[in-house]
Symmetry: C2
Subunit: 438 residues, 2 copies
């Protein structure tokens, strides 16, 4: 641990990301050494499945099925925890700190749910932790928030940070295919898990936005306070109607800092077609930040995959190497010291896409408009298509700024009208206006 001429690393977990890390360290050894100011040496790797060892070139590197050996190895400066989850991974990270080792990890679930314990323990043992791979795969968002845009107070984040959902929504939009169809295809191609719940319901994006919001909004966040809505109920029609009115549908992870409180939420969202996020397609991810003064900064790239995420973890090792010579550590106290209240969804304000299925008869539009007016909801544009043989037709509204509680009350009342044939539906809309001045 006193050798300052190289950073000696032990990797625990040789799955997708672990393998990507090992290959990246080997392939880009010279560049990494130059940027780190010293070589980064892979000393040992651990995985419970010995088959993984044969898939990589591990000549000269110790292999073991016992993670504890890595943690106890006196030669190792830094442990890469890449097994994921919040069980064993948590023990490994805490034990590594206690053993005097720094940690790099790509474990978003662990950081979103055990941030306080992890960061307090790191501080207690004067160890460092880096986690670029936890959000947005190969996109350098974490280091930018602490570094390259670290002089700005980011007050808004709008992010596409789940590749599975973005792949599905892009295919629905471009090919007009329905959700189930595209999901099946995504599963075949490996873009969606056999059990896709974690991605489709917004949990994965929720973990990631909790981490980003903690940094940007300078606050602890309980993951259970993050409002999560997935994309299961999105239809091709919704996407089509929105498009005609000038909006593209994305699963957005959103964080907004109002200083005294914050918004943190994940839900399907219409955004203006002209916003750059609307052009982020397929499995790609993007994080769009706004800060007074700095204005908009967007970072785009591959949000998952062995090599992109392996690259991110390797970039953390570059940080760890630079830190080895007593660099002033970044403070992670934002993850636990202060806790701003998360706004209740009824109190958020925004614009909305409202869709009603109504009988094709006189007075319907007046009835609905009247109810919206009663609830302080004003309409920015609307669209009605011709009724089918069943005599019903969809009618779509885009609203100006309104309070969500009012929108829900209005929709409850609209649902009770005889002329309304199905429970009305709403999708939130973000205009994402760029703030350029303080």
């Amino acid at each position: 641990m006193t050798d300052k001429s190289s950073l000696r690393v032990g990797v625990i977990g040789l799955g997708t990301v672990g393998s990507g890390l090992v290959r990246t360290l080997q392939r880009n050894r010279d560049r990494i050494a130059r940027n780190a100011g010293m070589p980064i040496d892979l000393v040992a790797v651990a995985d419970i499945n010995p088959d993984t060892f044969s898939r990589l070139d591990l000549a000269g590197i110790e292999t073991t099925s016992d993670a504890g050996r890595i943690i106890r190895d006196e030669r190792i400066d830094c442990v890469a925890e890449l097994i994921g989850g919040t069980g064993i991974a948590r023990d490994i990270v805490l034990d590594a700190f206690r053993a005097g080792k720094d940690v790099v990890t790509a474990n978003k679930a662990l950081l979103a749910t055990h941030a306080e314990e992890i960061f307090r323990t790191a501080e207690q043992y004067h160890r460092k932790i880096h986690f670029e791979g936890a959000v947005g795969g190969g996109i350098p968002i974490i280091q930018s928030l602490y570094g390259g845009i670290g002089a700005a107070t980011v007050t808004q984040i709008h992010a596409i940070i789940n590749g599975t959902c973005n792949y599905i929504l892009t295919a629905m939009e471009k090919q007009g295919r329905n959700f189930r169809d595209v999901l099946k295809e995504a599963q075949k191609l490996g873009y969606a898990e056999v059990d896709p719940t974690f991605d489709i319901e917004g949990h994965d994006a929720g973990h990631k936005i909790a981490i980003l919001a903690s940094i940007a909004c300078n606050t602890a966040i309980d993951f259970k306070d993050v409002h999560l809505e997935g994309i299961r109920d999105i239809t091709v029609d919704d996407i089509k109607f929105g498009k005609e009115l000038g909006y593209t549908l994305k699963l957005l992870a959103i964080a907004k800092d109002y200083q005294d409180s914050i918004d943190v939420r994940v839900h399907p969202t219409f955004i203006p077609n002209e916003n750059l996020l609307a052009s982020v397609h397929g499995v790609h991810n993007a994080v769009y930040t706004c800060a007074p003064g700095l204005g908009a900064v967007m970072l785009y790239g591959r949000g998952a995959g062995d090599l992109p995420t392996g690259n991110a973890v390797a970039s953390d090792l570059i940080q760890a190497a630079r830190d080895k010579t007593a660099r002033q550590p970044v403070s992670y106290r934002n993850f636990y010291e202060k806790r701003k209240p998360v706004r209740d969804m009824a109190n958020i304000e925004g614009s909305y896409y409202l869709r009603c299925i109504v009988a094709d008869q006189a007075g319907v539009l007046a009835t609905i408009s009247h109810i919206l007016g009663e609830h302080n909801i004003s309409v920015s544009s609307m669209m009605q298509t011709e009724a089918g043989k069943d005599g019903v037709c969809p009618i779509v509204f885009m609203t100006h700024n309104a309070r969500e509680g009012n929108v829900k009350k209005a929709l409850d009342k609209i649902a009770r009208q005889d002329v309304v044939k199905a429970r009305p539906k709403f999708i939130r809309l973000e205009r994402i206006e760029e703030v350029t001045q303080f």
Copy 2:
């Protein structure tokens, strides 16, 4: 200089960027201190024009018209050189190193033309230099190349890094207005200088891509070897024809690393409409990088302006503060140690947009196609519009991969044909394909 509890800064030059820096440091003081691990204290500012002092809140900060006072001030750890140019600015930076001070600067011209002297002197005096503001204003591209994507070997950069040109091209594209008109408007709005040559002819973008290419391609670059072509000759018709064939016109700064040689060039370029760069409009900038393994990463934001660039310089001060406690410095030897040859433009390969004005008569297409074939140029798509009253019409070709030397020879021969009524024109085309594997 031995006080490790704060970073003490002197600013030389209170123009646009200097003022933006001061306001950013004041406005975001707490966040900056947290990310830097210590407060950043503004000790003194220098400007030859004392009027600048009254425009800022400088209570408790020393003001002087003598830059030398800042350099000699024993209290100051780090000098922010923000006067620009390659004359006095060069002396200031070198003197600051000799006086034992670190430097932050946004001076692209200085770094693009005196890199070796600047970086060697820094190394000689064991001082550090940071320059996030030199490329892309508020976009954190420099720190990302050294940090967040610093484990990747970036082999291609396609960048929109001149806001003036992007503003003009966007207005020409969206509003169908001609170059001169839009330029005049841009000058009125302050997006273009009274003498716009430096921006319009590609010099500014050339300085910036020289810096980015030095880092990404790990090589010294003589600025005079950077091929520069501006946007003066672009017509609304070119933009329109390209659009119909699926391409958007941008002034791109391009760097490609072939290991044994490099491409570094700035010129008007057609790119596929689907590429994210095609959606970067107005004064915004974006840097699109590709690296084997990592794939594409794009960073987008405001490429100029007081507060965006001031933010970038402030983020460099965060680095300087972290470095204060003996962090391993990044190596800048790439800027002078190795020198890869820059490819001659005749030897670059790419696709091309070719436009000829021809007589509307039989056999013209065959004549031109034959000449293209003779020079190993194959056509991917073409377009001919109806002839006007003068009996001539434009005919446009998009080619597959071809060698530029051959394209020029073919165009020379086409120009000599009787049926061709004006010197044919070419614009380069980049397909920007993403590399995702090693």
